[in-house]
Subunit: 271 residues, 2 copies
């Protein structure tokens, strides 16, 4: 079963559009992890186990692992844990890769074979041939940056090309030319709800990964209203810090579960 | 000493504009490395030792390490070897990273602290704030994609914005707004020599990293003529496969040295 089908099944089975982002920052871990050499894995595993019930997807951010020696081994074990304990929940490796042919093939091996992710985030700036080695793995998902959630998204993504902003050209090109095997999705920031609405209009029912809820200020209601598909799905609304660090203390897992359930329910009220 | 200063000194001391790319593909290694668990490191170390005399920089491509379990440990040891044995030769980690604030900080730690690189390649699509955590490390270099060497470079990088292609806006923005600390450089493919000339006109004497010579078909003379600065430097002309796999056999190190010397000399004939 491919990534998109797995995601659609999970949306239905979990009644959730919540993507739990795994951005482990040891400086924010509860005291119980002080002096724990296996804290990266242990903390994330506890978050996964506490929130799986409420998640349509998990999204580990590779930078938070790659900043540490042996971080990749922790990431590998974490994804293996998710794939083993929650085989119905897709894993999106947030890596924003992008390079030419031979190198892109190596990155595809990294994401899909070494780490076992169902999908990977990609940067489209280098064009079609840089995406091809990922697109060809058509049982896996390719989640391309379109309009990101940060203020700097305006610097290049909103430049006007033939009267329309660049991000719309990116959305149109991916939807009409790169998605032949139906395994594409896009990253669209919740902090730009009007742009989200326009993108939904361009890409039909293509899944959208939505960062920017919570600390970055994105609004849940506007995100769901402007981003959902006709059947009330189509979105992976990500929350990382708001769930991972809901409690700084010993009750971190219960607090994460509560935060995930609360956000899942808030999202569902607007579907 | 910062990356740019280290690079300028090395251009002079080595009389070379050649960047040796380290893209280790075990399928192409000489037979001596069959069944060698340490082949990624061992092969690259031998190439480094054979070519250092002719190199203005080394550019390990992280994907070729990240495709393997424990590949990061090999990359770490390789860069430590270069920094120890050839402290005057800058190391550019080719990783094409790009993400928002907190995550970008983790990637900066990965490239500069964990791996000890002098510079890292970056993707500008997410804008200024995604670059800031790298730019702030002003003793290190930020090498941004501008016009890449692959055919897909045309898909988005050449879209017209106010009558000028996107890549020119990227070059202008980085040169005029992101380079306050003077630690920026750009990636420009040798396969687009006219665009290289235009970019040199926009960015003054900013260093340019040039992939695309050799297997991709870029021409050395046109690259040097269109890309050099007034003092005959300004370029890191990369060759990877043409040097690494100059001989498939036991004489790989000598063949790599010969290939590096030959290309260094060919570049110099056109300076």
């Amino acid at each position: 079963m491919g990534f998109i089908e797995k995601l659609r099944d999970r949306w239905q089975a979990s009644d959730s559009l919540l993507c739990v982002g795994l951005d482990p920052d040891p400086a924010k871990f509860p005291d119980v992890f002080v002096d724990d050499d296996d804290a990266l894995f242990g903390f994330c595993r506890d978050i996964v186990d506490a929130t799986a019930e409420y998640a349509c997807a998990f999204k580990p951010q590779i930078a938070y692992f790659a900043a540490h020696n042996d971080g990749e081994a922790a990431l590998q074990r974490l994804i293996a844990h998710i794939n083993g304990a929650y085989p119905d929940i897709p894993v999106i490796l947030d890596a924003k890769r992008g390079d030419i042919g031979n190198t892109a093939e190596q990155y595809a091996v990294e994401a899909f074979d070494r780490f076992g992710a169902d999908a990977v985030t990609l940067n489209p700036y280098m064009g079609r041939d840089s995406a091809a080695p990922f697109l060809q793995r058509n049982d896996r998902g390719c989640v391309f940056l379109c309009h990101t959630s940060n203020p700097g998204a305006r610097d290049f993504q909103e430049l006007l090309v033939d009267g329309a902003p660049l991000y719309q050209h990116v959305a149109r090109t991916i939807a009409s030319e790169w998605n032949g095997d139906g395994n594409c999705a896009l990253v669209v920031g919740a902090t730009f709800p009007e742009e989200l609405k326009i993108i939904r209009g361009i890409v039909g029912d293509m899944p959208l990964l939505i960062p920017g809820i919570g600390a970055q200020g994105g609004d849940v209601e506007a995100t769901v209203r402007n981003g959902k598909t006709a059947n009330g799905t189509g979105l992976m609304i990500n929350s990382s810090r708001g769930i991972l660090y809901a409690s700084g203390g010993a009750g971190y897992a219960d607090a994460a579960a509560d935060a995930a359930k609360t956000l899942r329910d808030e999202i569902n009220r607007h579907r």
